[in-house]
Symmetry: C2
Subunit: 460 residues, 2 copies
């Protein structure tokens, strides 16, 4: 990474002129705040630009190329991999104030939004028109749609509905050169030219700053119902997951949590079966009311058949809400309980999950770490929350992580299903991608951003 | 496009050495055959290589870089836009013999296949295991999965299930440099690095030769049912389409055909209502038997409410098969009926379709052409089959097409939803994409293929 020029008073004036001085933040406290995400790495930017228009971004990026300072775009800082950390200082470009829902077109079943809108705000706005925006990262009430797009965010509903990428039809983005382009379409289909849309979406803010998004919406499912199944251990629970899917059920969530996680959020979990369960599955299905009733009942039978100790059908809304609260709260509890906390989110082919989780205890012993696992069993995406009692054991724990990730890849899996690479997983990239693949990706970065001014130091 | 070197006897020997002489075809008749697709452009290659392994392709592409001859990959030649035509001669690389289904993993719900396998053969093989590969281009019994991937093929089922891109989890591809890479994953999710998978898929064979594909499968729907609705004209039919979708129905096909098309395939259509109908909708829905019964009935009511003259519910399997035969046959009949035939496949936002089709008669008069329209009403993808009685009117007809495509873009649509750009739509590319977008795409082509040896002359 070539050296950047610190932002001088003269450059600062030019930035203020380009974006308006009311959009520039220099207060120390704010700089520290904007230099963090939800992971453990932080770096203070030299200044923050709170943008409200794509024209400001165009001017800012042109200046960055001239004066050679880095620009790091940031949604709402809920990432876990350091993707929005300004690791070389420079300008932190906050998208938080570009937060308008521009339009919801009921007849075209699309919404056009700015990147700073909360995921949940979009869900609620389109819901009022009978429409549904499915992607639901755990951070849905705190993360922005622009951040969701930059990382191709997932969530529990992916097992039925797919990830963020599947709901972005088109974008407007400012390229590192300061030039704005449209990519993708406003329609359900489109095959005109190379897929720049899906290249920029998921690029963790390194190929362009997304300034507008056209989202695909679908009819809102009329009803949803829930089931909780308790199992003695993970192997039988995972057997139930694959059986449910292979018998043709398509639930809109199949979440699991291991015993260690259960213990940590037991106060939130509203069922006494949690005292003895080794793990549980939280299964939901949505659609027509009478169909989903029957569907969930059949899935309940499958769970019992695969070794569930008990199943609870259609718990009341209070209990359902508490289950989800526990599910969303668990990673925070883990993080707060251990001095060393490293969140990984591997994905395995469905049929390999049981084998993989069976190897975890041995790995914990070998590397002196404690692994809390929970996540999206239905698409093989397991959040491995790796912890240790002592930050000094970091090196040993990282060796353990490397061992685990290699095992994941050997079993046909991938090292990240949701969090992305950012800063924290860069060292593991060559475990999964070949030198030639990385070389091509770096060349793509090079043509988008020859001066390396946009979000440098990420992914590679 | 820089000049290529004709293939000399010496180069031919090197090619034979690289791929094995049994894989090289030089017969004039065969060269002519391989120089065609399903559109009207053809160009004879200097020779054909029928490959059976990725190693042959690696060696061939390395030779192409050294001796500067173009290589044009070809699936089974069912494209309509000239994407597989060897317009600069050189080597036509036929993928037809790389046609093994390598594995179907029931528990992981994936299939791994070579690019030359027929779409229909995959559908039938996975069906035997209770699984479903949804994408269904009209050419499904004659087109290869590699060609489907290169063009991101669509089909009637896209309205519910999405396009080919949504079912390719990972690929192996030989880059123009002769180096092989893997892109994508074997799992339901993956966010590691830039999305080279979706860059190569849909690139019409210009960025890499796909040699292996990992396909996502889903449970096979237990049943499907059909409905035919007859309307006096297109506007009320399109109103029914948007109403069906907005009321929460997700059919697995909503096809339409205008009066001109109906007249052309009337002998195949098994209903007397066809005599007087201005247009019809062929709607299908799949899922649980009792649900789809109710679902199709509700959609029938919507059609009547929107002005349908009559609806026929659940016709017997013979009639259903004939409806689909007519639907798949219609473009061939149009092509055979007119000296000038130009297939376009625009996509409009759903709510704009009725307005758009209303403008067609005026356009026909103004430009002296006859437009046959049919297609995938449910995702706004209309096949406009543009014809004229005289090939000499081509220039005027092309002006008419340009006028129509501009109108499509103005209404928020895109100029191609399925066929791609290939050779035939290159001149229209700047109508839709900005100069900056095209520039970036050409730069991407440049880093993948600096000597421009892979499928030159396409898209740009």
């Amino acid at each position: 990474m070539p050296g950047y020029t610190p932002i001088t008073t003269d450059t600062l004036h030019k930035i203020e002129e380009a974006v308006g001085s009311g959009h520039v933040i220099l207060e120390e406290e704010k700089l520290i705040e904007y230099g963090k995400d939800s992971g453990e790495i932080s770096c203070k930017p030299e200044l923050v630009v709170e943008t409200t228009s794509s024209e400001q971004i165009e001017r800012l990026l042109r200046l960055a190329n001239i004066h050679r300072f880095p620009v790091t775009p940031r949604g709402l800082g809920t990432g876990l991999a350091g993707g929005s950390i300004p690791m070389y200082g420079g300008v932190l470009l906050s998208m938080a104030r570009m937060n308008r829902i521009i339009s919801i077109e009921e007849d075209n079943m699309i919404a056009t939004v700015e990147p700073g809108v909360l995921n949940l705000d979009i869900k609620e706005a389109v819901r009022k028109k009978g429409l549904f925006y499915p992607p639901d990262p755990a951070s849905l009430d705190t993360s922005s749609i622009g951040g969701n797009a930059a990382t191709n965010a997932g969530g529990p509903s992916c097992v039925k509905y797919g990830t963020t990428r599947d709901y972005i039809l088109g974008i407007e983005a400012v390229l590192p050169s300061g030039k704005k382009i449209k990519a993708g379409v406003n329609t359900r289909k489109g095959v005109v030219g190379y897929d720049l849309l899906r290249l920029i979406v998921g690029s963790e803010g390194t190929l362009g700053v997304i300034t507008k998004l056209t989202l695909k919406l679908i009819p809102h499912p009329p009803a949803v119902t829930t089931m909780v199944a308790f199992f003695p251990e993970l192997t039988s629970a995972m057997k139930a997951v694959t059986t449910v899917l292979m018998r043709g059920h398509i639930p809109c969530a199949i979440e699991f949590m291991d015993r260690k996680c259960i213990t940590l959020v037991k106060d939130l979990l509203p069922f006494e079966e949690m005292d003895t369960a080794g793990t549980f599955l939280l299964i939901e299905t949505d659609g027509n009311p009478d169909i989903i009733e029957r569907d969930i009942e059949m899935m309940g039978h499958i769970c019992l058949e695969c070794g569930a100790m008990n199943v609870i059908m259609a718990p009341d809304s209070v209990k359902r809400a508490r289950m989800w609260e526990a599910r969303r709260e668990v990673s925070l509890r883990i993080e707060n309980s251990f001095p060393l906390y490293i969140p990984e989110d591997v994905v395995l082919p469905l049929g390999k999950i049981a084998d993989f989780v069976a190897c975890l205890p041995e790995c914990e012993r070998a590397y002196g770490m404690k692994i809390f696992s929970f996540g999206h069993a239905g698409d093989g995406n397991i959040h491995l929350n790796i912890t240790a009692e002592d930050r000094k054991s970091r090196e040993r724990v990282e060796a353990g992580i490397k061992y685990l990730l290699k095992r994941v890849i050997k079993m046909g899996g991938t090292i990240s299903g949701e969090h992305g690479i950012g800063i924290t997983k860069r060292c593991y990239l060559p475990l999964e991608l070949s030198a030639e693949s990385i070389r091509m990706q770096k060349e793509i970065k090079g043509i988008f951003d020859p001066s390396f001014i946009l979000n440098p130091g990420k992914i590679f």
